[in-house]
Subunit: 196 residues, 2 copies
């Protein structure tokens, strides 16, 4: 039996959580990155296809490899984040279905179907990116997701020799709340949803 989580949890996950652009000078331990992945990988994907691939860019050297591919507005803040995660998705995900979905031949649902492969990888890899954001917040860190970068450049630098493509980036760390802008407006329920 599950119940509504305490308001303090809902605040941390949703209501008080914000996209951060400035970071306190506190390192993020590798163990915490493992804990984030351990939670995020449990979120649902279709046929458990799990196409997301995560690269946690943490060392100075790796950040320098990422830097030239960031849009100018994202460059400085990303260099100052303790970690920037590259969320990618693997077009070869279906090769792993005999392991991930062993009770049927799910691999054959995709073989040779390029459009279905691309759509499934993008949809489910993006879902897993959102699970990563929620897991990060659940473990007490802040996120700064962003789309402004040269995807092809990041792919060449970090995913060469694979069929993985970059999806979006997400900085992780302890955000500086003093640097936040007010939250942007949201739709009302009726503007984005209906009950029929």
């Amino acid at each position: 039996m599950t119940v509504k989580l305490p308001d303090a949890c809902l605040d941390q996950l949703f209501r008080e959580a914000r996209t951060h652009n400035a970071w306190r000078d506190e390192a993020v331990a590798d163990e915490l990155l493992h804990a984030i992945v351990d939670l995020a990988m449990l979120g649902p994907t279709s046929a458990n296809c799990s196409p997301a691939r995560f690269i946690f860019v943490k060392s100075h050297e790796a950040k320098e490899r990422l830097k030239p591919h960031l849009s100018e507005g994202n460059r400085d803040k990303t260099m100052k984040a303790p970690v920037c995660t590259i969320i990618g998705y693997d077009f070869d995900f279906y090769q792993h279905l005999p392991k991930l979905f062993p009770h049927t031949d799910a691999k054959s649902w995709f073989e040779g179907k390029e459009e279905k492969i691309a759509e499934t990888a993008f949809r489910n890899g993006t879902l897993q990116g959102a699970y990563l954001i929620m897991a990060t917040r659940a473990l007490g860190l802040d996120c700064g997701p962003m789309s402004g970068f040269d995807n092809a450049g990041v792919d060449r630098e970090f995913f060469a020799g694979t069929n993985v493509k970059s999806n979006f980036l997400c900085s992780l760390g302890h955000g500086d709340r003093a640097a936040l802008f007010p939250r942007s407006p949201r739709f009302s329920f009726d503007e984005m949803a209906r009950i029929v």
Copy 2:
């Protein structure tokens, strides 16, 4: 200052949460659907573009409209769920950016750029679909997300006259844990992530 959420919360959101296919006969109040959207809409999207549109299919009449478009394996279980949510994404999302991202002319970033519109709508609409899943679990309900349906048929039936396209479906309610299969295997950290 945020901290790691209590283990009971992490269990409910990730570790014990499962994709449900069988549902207890308990209605879901409209107020709870509003509460889910109120949380999910707070999750981050690029430039706050918020392209997701949610239709909560709850009445018998609406379920009958959905039924012929479901794959056979999804049909009966979906008819028995208290609510099935159609998660769609609006290709006209950028028309709303003067409201949602008022401090700059973000609308002009998209006008006339069909490929960028489609990719941004799909990526961010999918992120919001994942936020809906997490918000639903956070409020004590279970989810049953699925991709097996005729997207074009659902679009004709539920999104006619708009530029909204269906993305995936997600049943909501109180799941019957007795009907769950064991969780499918996941990757190890090293198979899906690395720290550089």
